[in-house]
Symmetry: C2
Subunit: 230 residues, 2 copies
C-alpha cells in the first residue's frame, strides 16, 4: 500500500499542516498492515502510537469486565484512531482496534505528536475540534440508547452507516455488515437485529442478505428512526 506524505492532508487534523510537517510525520512513522480480524491494539495497551488508516476498515470496540463488547465507531481510510490514548503522556488505549478487512495504517509515535503539538498550535486546535465532534456524537448515541427503542436505534445505525460508507446503486444503498456487527453498533443482540430486519423486509424497507443489507426505502427508514412509523 503506497501513499505519499501529501495524502495525509485528507486527514482532518492534518489539513493545515505544512509539507514539511507531513514529511516529518511519514519519515518518523511506520506502516503496519494486518489481516481481517487482527488487532492494531487492545484496550489497556500503552498508547505509544496513534494511527491513520490508509486502507481497509477498522472497528473500535470496548469490552466490559464481563467480556461483552460494544462498538464505539468504525474507521474509514484517512481517519485517525487511537488518538484518545496518544494525546496524553503515559496513557493507555481506552478501546481496542480490530480490522474488519485486511487493513493498512500509518503508526505515528505518540511522542512525535507531543513534540509537534508544542510548536504547532493548529494541531491541538484541530484535534480539539475533532474531539468535540466525537463528544457530540457520543452524547447523541447515549441519548438514543437511553430513550429510544431497538427498532429506532437500528434504523439510526443503518442511516449513519449509509452516510459514512453506503454504496449507492441504482436501486437503493448497499451496506456490508453482519447481524452481529449491527447488534454491537445499536446496543442489542443479533437475534433482535435479525427479527427487525425480517420485519422491515416484509414492509419493503430493506432487503437483507448474508452480511449484507440493502436499503430500498431510505425515506421510510428515516420515519422509523424518528419513531413516526408504527
Amino acid at each position: 500500500m503506497k501513499f505519499s506524505p501529501k495524502d495525509l492532508r485528507q486527514v482532518t487534523v492534518f489539513q493545515n499542516a505544512t509539507d514539511d510537517d507531513l514529511d516529518q510525520i511519514v519519515r518518523n512513522s511506520i506502516t503496519r498492515s494486518i489481516e481481517e480480524g487482527e488487532f492494531f491494539f487492545f484496550q489497556g495497551d500503552p498508547a505509544n502510537y496513534l494511527y491513520v488508516l490508509v486502507s481497509g476498515q477498522v472497528k473500535l470496540l470496548q469490552t466490559n469486565p464481563g467480556g461483552q463488547q460494544v462498538n464505539l465507531r468504525t474507521i474509514y481510510p484517512w481517519q485517525m484512531f487511537g488518538a484518545l490514548g496518544a494525546v496524553r503522556e503515559q496513557a493507555d488505549y481506552p478501546a481496542s482496534a480490530q480490522a474488519l478487512e485486511n487493513s493498512t495504517a500509518l503508526a505515528i509515535q505518540s511522542t512525535l505528536l507531543h513534540e509537534m503539538m508544542e510548536t504547532r498550535p493548529y494541531l491541538s486546535f484541530d484535534l480539539m475540534l475533532l474531539m468535540t465532534s466525537y463528544i457530540q456524537e457520543m452524547q447523541a448515541r447515549y441519548r438514543e440508547l437511553a430513550t429510544e427503542r431497538v427498532e429506532q436505534r437500528i434504523a439510526r445505525v443503518l442511516l449513519r452507516l449509509t452516510a459514512q460508507s453506503g454504496q449507492k446503486t441504482d436501486e437503493g444503498i448497499d451496506l456490508a455488515f453482519s447481524r452481529q456487527d449491527l447488534a454491537e453498533m445499536s446496543g442489542t443482540t443479533l437475534y433482535t437485529v435479525s427479527r427487525v430486519l425480517a420485519d422491515w423486509e416484509r414492509r419493503d424497507l430493506v432487503r437483507a442478505g448474508r452480511e449484507q443489507v440493502h436499503i430500498t426505502n431510505p425515506h421510510g427508514l428515516v420515519r422509523v428512526a424518528e419513531g413516526l412509523e408504527k
Copy 2:
C-alpha cells in the same frame, strides 16, 4: 457572589493562564445568577457564551424529539460548561443547562475565547485534554448502558457522584439527589430507582430519604456495580 480573576485558575483549562489573561477574561465577561430550576441556556440556542460555574450546581441535559430527557453531566463550581458549542464558530449548544440550586456563573463570550485561542496554544491544548476526558467518560457510560443492567448502572452513578461531590460523614456518604435525578443519570425510571434503593436498604447498603441517599456500605456498592453481587 464575589470572586477574583485568580480564582479562575481553579478551572483546569485556565490553570496555565497568565494573570493578564485571567484579568482580560473577567473584564470581558458577565456574571449571571439564576435560581433553582431555571436555565443558563437551552439545547439549540446559539452558543454565544461559555460558562464557568462560580457557585451552585448545574445539570446538563439533552432532550430527544419526543421530549424525554437524559442527564449528561452535573457541573460543580469552577467547572466549565457550554464549551462544546462555544469552541466552534456559529454553533448551537448541544444540550441544555439547568440550575439544580441557585447558581452563579461567569459567562465568557465565545468570540473572546476564539481570539485568545489564536495566540495562546496552551488554551486549545488544555481544552483538547478536557475534551478527551469527556469522550472517555461518555464511552464508558455508553458501554455501561449497553451492557449492564439497571442495578449496576445505578450503583455506578452513586459511586461516580460520591467521587465528585459526596459529603463524607462519620458513617458513610451523603448524596442529595431525587429518584428522578438518579433515574435520568442512569437511564432508567424513578420507579425502578425507588425499588432498587428499597432493596439495597434491606441489604444495608444504603439508607434512602427524600432527595437524599446515604451510602452506608460503599464497598458493597462497588460489588454491585461490578456485577459480583447476586
